[in-house]
Structure formats: structure tokens, C-alpha cells
């Protein structure tokens, strides 16, 4: 794993020692070169954990998320070029350093074998994200957004620390491989139930679960583009990853403790999808759609069948790429009109036909069009929840309908309609932007040909 971590750490001196005209080229190229390294961890011939070291390892759950993380860094750097254009060199370097530090913490979080190290790095990812949102966001509300983000996540995860230490004391080790083998059958007592809550709340806040999702629209809307991308694509998946790792040691409490959260997520996904239909701010719409998709993932992880786990992982990867793509598209709009409101930028298909194609693909992927992996994930989760309880099909089916509605609404509002006069001079699409969209879409479409690699532990 050091073959991935050390080059990422070395991106930091690369940023600081680059000349002014080489800074973007250097960082983008080198992060692109680093990004195929997780491909080595795919295609493991048996499901046993392929350990590379005592502290870092990668298994079929980790590897897709790791690939997503490393693929996203060059994309984030490409997307940030425009809004940092007028900043002094020092600030550009600081911004890139924040992104790279975030990347290092994320890679180490996903590959950590020891749960305590996972926790420490989980908290570490908060700091560069907070700095990016509050320092480089666009509106004065970003201070508020940053505080919400920080405090929600911190308060959720402090009980996790206590629960982890307690488990370390009882079980002797927090190594994931050993936890697989030493199953503790937790009895149904108050303290054990509280411990279950302590474990899960951190990740529920991170995902986010419907009742605790207040920080997400704020943080997404106020963050700069790279912040939004990394938040939507990777940081939310940290929650899912953590939940999937920790459900090993929490059985059989999950069978009855999961009920309220399942209800909340099933209801919440319909609520947030409906909110999307009434949103006027484009970024806010995409943020709520993130909450809706992640609610499905929470439901899948709490049901705990092999197919639902597969559905959860596939949905996480698919949503990461799609949501990041939608944020990039919304940002390309915002950079031109300086406004995030949908009704002020309509009829863009006549101006930017190629960008309209990317918009179409992004929205079709968002509404889980076959044969994309979005559909694969949703179908698996749908089937698993149906087998868990027959009536959930009504809720999940309704959610798929509303998702389709708001995705098409987003497309029609921005691309079709009458072009208004103040949109008529917009700079044509830059190659960098088209490249960005293509690099998002390309893995998404390729994966629909061979989704075996991201299906997790089931063969």
C-alpha cells in the first residue's frame, strides 16, 4: 500500500516546489499517474483478505472506493482551475495542499486495518474539508455551513471513539481481520444497545441519514467545486464503508436496532426526492439527490444480506461518479452566469450541444437508466429490501419514480426552453471541462460492461 501512499504524500513537495506555470500541469499529471495503482488490487482470486502490510490492506470492499478516491483527485484539480485563476500563487498552492492532504487521509482511511487508525483518519478528513469549505467557498453563509458540517460530524463520532476503546478492551484487538474471526455474540442489554448506537451514529451522520442530513445541503451549496466533488463522491461513502466494516462485530443486535433507521431512511429517501422537485437552486437539488441515494445505501447496509451489500457498494461507486459529474456540470453553469438559479439559465442546449450531451448522460445515470451500474445497485437494494419486507417495494418504487421525475426536470429546466438574452454570450465549453465530464462518464459506462469488480464480497 505504500506504493500508493508515498507518491500521494510526495505530491505535496511537488505542489510547493512547482513553478507558477507548471503547478496545474504537474499536479494533474502526477495524480493521474497515481490513480491506476488501485487497479492492482482488483481481481483477487480468492475472497481472503490480500494483505500487503500489517497496517494497510485492501479487500474487495475497499478497492472500488479506493479507486474512486484516487481517480477523483485529478478531476478535482482540473475542476478548480477556473475559480482559483485570480488568486495569488501561495493560495493556489495552499488549496492544492489541502486537497492532497485530504487525499492522503482518505486513502489511509480506506485501507486501514486497525479500526482505531481508521477512526483517527476519519476525523482527520474533516479538517482539510472544513478549511476548503470555509476559506474558499463563495458566500458568507459558508461559515455557518462549515460549523454545521464540523459539529454534526464531530458530535456523531465522539461516541464512536468510546465504543471503539471499549471493544478494544473486551476483544483485545481492533484489527479487521481478527474481528472477522472473533465473533462476540452481544447480548440484548441496554449498554450493548447504546454501544450499537454509538458505533452507528457517526456513520449515520456522515451518510447522511434523513433526520441528520441538515448539514449536507448547506455544505454542498457553499463549498467550492472541488469541495463539493469530494464531499459528494467520497466523504459520504466513508460512512457506508465504516458501517459495513462495523456490522461484523455488532451482530445480532442489528436485527432489532436497525428498525428505526431503516424506517427513517426509507421514508427519508422519498422526502428528499420530493424536495428535489421543488428546488430552484441547482446545487441544492443535487445535494438533496445525494441524500436520497445515500438513504438507499443505508437501508441496504442495515438489511445485511449478501445482495444488499453488493447493491450498497455498487450504488456508492455509481453515485460517487454521477454526483460528482452533476456538480461539475452545475459549476460550469455557475462560472458563466454567476448564479446558481435554474430559471436564469435555460435553453443551454442550443448554445452548448456537447455539454448538453454530458448533461443528458449525467441525468440518465442519476435516474438509474439501464444498463448503468446505478440501476444495478438500485435493483439489488430493491430486491433485498423486498425480501426483507414485501411492502418496502411501494416506497422504493415510488422513490425510483420521483428520482426519474426530478432528474428529467433538472435536464429540461437547464437544457430545453427559451434562451434568454443575458445568456447569449457565454464562453464556449473549454476542452478542460469536456475532458472532466468525459473522465467522469467513462468509468461509469465501462463499469456497466463489467460490474463484477465492484460487487464486493459476493462473486
Amino acid at each position: 500500500m505504500l506504493k500508493l501512499i508515498i507518491p500521494t504524500i510526495m505530491l505535496l513537495p511537488l505542489t510547493w516546489l512547482s513553478k507558477k506555470h507548471m503547478i496545474w500541469i504537474n499536479t494533474t499529471t502526477h495524480s493521474l499517474i497515481i490513480s491506476p495503482i488501485p487497479l492492482l488490487f482488483f481481481n483477487q482470486t480468492n475472497n481472503n483478505l490480500l494483505t500487503y502490510s500489517l497496517s494497510f490492506s485492501s479487500d474487495p470492499l475497499t478497492t472500488p472506493l479506493l479507486m474512486l478516491t484516487t481517480w477523483l483527485l485529478p478531476l478535482m484539480i482540473m475542476a478548480s482551475q477556473h475559480h482559483l485563476y485570480n488568486e495569488p500563487l501561495l493560495r493556489k498552492k495552499l488549496y492544492l495542499s489541502m486537497l492532497i492532504i485530504l487525499q492522503i487521509s482518505l486513502i489511509m482511511t480506506f485501507t486501514a486495518t486497525e479500526l482505531m487508525m481508521f477512526y483517527i483518519l476519519f476525523e482527520t478528513t474533516l479538517i482539510p474539508t472544513l478549511i476548503i469549505i470555509t476559506r474558499w467557498g463563495n458566500q458568507p453563509e459558508r461559515l455557518n455551513a462549515g460549523s454545521y458540517f464540523l459539529f454534526y460530524t464531530l458530535v456523531g463520532s465522539l461516541p464512536l471513539l468510546i465504543a471503539l476503546i471499549h471493544t478494544h478492551n473486551t476483544l483485545g484487538s481492533l484489527n479487521i481481520m481478527l474481528l472477522n474471526l472473533s465473533s462476540q455474540n452481544l447480548t440484548d442489554s441496554w449498554s450493548n444497545n447504546l454501544m450499537w448506537l454509538a458505533y452507528m451514529m457517526a456513520f449515520m451522520v456522515k451518510m447522511p441519514l434523513y433526520g441528520l442530513h441538515l448539514w449536507l445541503p448547506k455544505a454542498h451549496v457553499e463549498a467550492p467545486i472541488a469541495g463539493s466533488m469530494v464531499l459528494a463522491a467520497v466523504l459520504l461513502k466513508l460512512g457506508g464503508y465504516g458501517m459495513m466494516r462495523l456490522t461484523l462485530i455488532l451482530s445480532p443486535l442489528t436485527k432489532h436496532m436497525a428498525y428505526p433507521f431503516l424506517m427513517l431512511s426509507l421514508w427519508g429517501m422519498i422526502m428528499t426526492s420530493s424536495i428535489c422537485l421543488r428546488q430552484t437552486d441547482l446545487k441544492s437539488l443535487i445535494a438533496y439527490s445525494s441524500v436520497s441515494h445515500m438513504a438507499l445505501v443505508i437501508a441496504a447496509i442495515l438489511i445485511q444480506t449478501p445482495w444488499s451489500f453488493t447493491g450498497a457498494i455498487v450504488l456508492m461507486i455509481a453515485h460517487g461518479l454521477t454526483s460528482s459529474l452533476l456538480f461539475c456540470l452545475a459549476n460550469s453553469n455557475y462560472e458563466r452566469t454567476h448564479s446558481r438559479i435554474m430559471i436564469l439559465s435555460r435553453g443551454l442546449q442550443t448554445l452548448f450541444p456537447l455539454m448538453a450531451f454530458w448533461w443528458l448522460m449525467a441525468n440518465l445515470a442519476n435516474l438509474a437508466l439501464p444498463p448503468t451500474i446505478n440501476l444495478l445497485g438500485e435493483l439489488f437494494v430493491l430486491m433485498a429490501s423486498f425480501s426483507w419486507a414485501n411492502t418496502t417495494i411501494m416506497l422504493t418504487g415510488l422513490n425510483m419514480l420521483i428520482t426519474a421525475l426530478y432528474s428529467l426536470y433538472m435536464f429540461i429546466m437547464t437544457q430545453r426552453g427559451m434562451l434568454t438574452h443575458h445568456i447569449k454570450n457565454m464562453k464556449p465549453s473549454l476542452t478542460r471541462e469536456n475532458m472532466l465530464m468525459l473522465m467522469h462518464l467513462f468509468p461509469l459506462l465501462l463499469l456497466s460492461i463489467n460490474p463484477n469488480i465492484i460487487t464486493g464480497f459476493t462473486p
Binding site: E141, H421, H422, K427
Partner: protein, 470 residues
Amino acid sequence: MIRRVLPHGLGRGLLTRRPGTRRGGFSLDWDGKVSEIKKKIKSILPGRSCDLLQDTSHLPPEHSDVVIVGGGVLGLSVAYWLKKLESGRNAIRVLVVERDHTYSQASTGLSVGGICQQFSLPENIQLSLFSASFLRNINEYLAVVDAPPLDLQFNPSGYLLLASEKDAAAMESKVKVQRQEGAKVSLMSPDQLRNKFPWINTEGVALASYGMENEGWFDPWCLLQGLRRKVQSLGVLFCQGEVTRFVSSSQHMLTTDDKAVVLKRIHEVHVQMDHSLEYQPVECAIVINAAGAWSAQIAALAGIGEGPPGTLQGTKLPVEPRKRYVYVWHCPQGPGLETPLVADTSGAYFRREGLGSNYLGGRSPTEQEEPDPANLEVDHDFFQDKVQSAWAGYYDYNTFDQNGVVGPHPLVVNMYFATGFSGHGLQQAPGVGRAVAEMILKGRFQTIDLSPFLFTRFYLGEKIQENIII
């Protein structure tokens, strides 16, 4: 020695301080400090704007989708219709920037307040007709919960325009157009005039047109306050300040016949606070120029008119302030309560003011007699008789064809105009506001087609002229 060692109590030296005080003293201004701490704690709580670093509550927000320069009746009308025609609640953020919150020099408050449909251009007639229906139903349009209804004091007495021999034919054709558009205007001969208005002196009058419905005068201040109240309840932000700079980005493009053209887009408006150097850059998507008599200054800030004369880049916005006087006099045996606003063949006009036999009126000066628009001082010699009081107001006078400029500028693509109405802006404000809002939200004029009023006519030289203006 011992005495010097004693820390407190008796005998203070010059260097000892009382306990609890420090230089500058925290205990001084205790109440002020406590209220400051309370304010900081309140600003952290959810739902409040976060002003931890410095207090920015007097500044406009850093971002607003639409910035309306000018808070008079036209600017507020555009804000109202933008909020009314948007598809969801609070979809668009609108900011109205007004330099003078007392409206001391604004044309709206100083206006005579008349509304009439007796124009020669069908668009003007349609605008006035719509405004009349707006004013008639004003308490449905501008209703705010728990606020008293508006009393516009609309006097539906009509307008009476007198024409001499040489203007009679023009007046007849005008009335025909007005009737086609739906205005109710009647033509009267001198005999009918004397019959209806016995006090009138019909010497030199060949024909008169009398508006019978939807014409009269009202209180413009009431309309302004009603609009302001409603617009604030719909969520429009107000800010007192002066627009001093537009930051724009240009793009060089080629037209279809390979001519180079530079298209500009304003993306930031610098609003400077009153009596201070402090300014706030407001990031915006659309700017609306509703600055009335000072619209030309705002247009010049955006770079309109910088170019060789005769080209589209060099076409300035031809709106300038012109001062007009209004005089009030007392006439005990004057015409009765039914008196319309009478406009003479020479352009002088008068109307009844109140119920105490007071009348107000004035006349548009000829080109040579134009008063100096530098201030609003009244020249009492302009009126030849004894007056009770007088005031002056500005017309946002369009020197090109004395009709309004509505719609976007061809080169500065996100600046929309709603100005230059040369004295009839107040009566056309609701219609114009709706037209500009439709242009912004839907891309074209939907209800009333104001395409003859676009900016391009200044470059193309197409004058749309009214025959008489009062």
C-alpha cells in the same frame, strides 16, 4: 518600607492599580461589552447570519442574482413582477439598490401622478390600460398580510386634451388608434366643450379629446410605499448605497458577416455606502438599470457609449435629467370637482388639487427655456402669476424620442433597461415592470410587446415619437 510592601488597603502608590481594573478597563462600558458578547453568541445559533468577524449587517449581501439599480416606482415594479412571475418561492434573489432612502430627488414622489391613455403609440396605450387595471385592483396585487389596504386616492376625472386647427386631424387619427386599443376616449367640438365645461375658454380650440374611463390622477407616494411593502414581504432585499463600479468580463466574437464585436457581461456590482469609502462587491447575474434621471451615469459605468460615434458601441443611452416645475395656486371661483386634467394647445396643463379650490399645473418649457437640472430649485418667474407653492422634479428625459427604453442592451448582455420615460414613467410602471420580468424569465415579451422600445433603435435611428407630451 513596610508601608510600600502592603498591597492594598491604605496608601496607594502611583503604580498600584485597583484590583479588577486593567488599562482600558474591561469594567468600563460593561453594558456595551455584554451586548456585544450576546450578539456574537446569537450569531452562532442556527438561523442567523454569521457575522463573527465583522458586522456587515448594513452592507448588501455578497451575492444576488438580480441587482436593480434604482428604487423608484419602475425599479420596484420590476422587482415585484420578478417575484410574482418566478416559478417557485424565493427562487431568485433580488437586491434593490437605492441611493437616497428619503426619495428626495426621485421622480416618483415629485410626480403629478396622472394616468391617461391618450397616446399615439399603441404600446403606450396598452401599458397605460394595464396600469389602470393594476391600480384599480391594487389591493389584490399588493396585499400584505395584516397590513391596511392601500388608498391610492384615485380621482377618475379624466384627461382633456385641447387641439388647435392645425393639430385637429392628428388628434382625430390618434383617437382612432386609442379606440382600437380599447381606450374610451370621446372627441368633442368647441360647442360640446362649452356645454360640458362652462368655465372653459374655447378660443383657438378646434377639437378636444376627453378620456372617459381609466384616466385621472392618483397619489404616487402611496403606490411607491405599497410596492415597497409588498416587495419586502416577497423577500426582496433593500440596500442603501450608490453603484460605483461594474466589474465585467468581455468576449471578442465575430458576427455572421465576420465583423468583430465585443460582448460584455457584468458579473459584479460595487455598491458604495453613504458618506464612506466602504463598498461591497455584489456578485450578480443580471443588472437592471432603473435609475431614472441618472440612468445615463449607470450606463456609462457599464461602458455603454464608449466607442466611435455612429457605431453600436458608441451609442450612448440618451437619457438625461430635465427639470420641470409644478406650481400650486388658489382660485376660489375655479372649475368644479369634475374638472379633468386639462392640457392646453400650448402645452400648459392644470388639474384640481384637493377640495379647497387649489389647482396645480405647469408647462413643458421650450428648448431654449430649459432650466438647469443641477438642482431642484424652483424659478418662480417661470409662472406669471402669484403662486401658493411650487416644486420641481426631474423627468428622465429621453432626448432621442421621448419614449421609454425597455429591454436588454445588445452588447452588455445582462443589463436590462427600464428607464427614459420622459414624464410618463409612473403611469406605465406596472406594465413595464411586467414586460422586463417576462424578458428576463421567459426570453421575450409575452403580454405587451415592447420591442419598439428596445435600445437598438438608438443605433438604427428609428424614432418612435409621441405627438405631444405633457
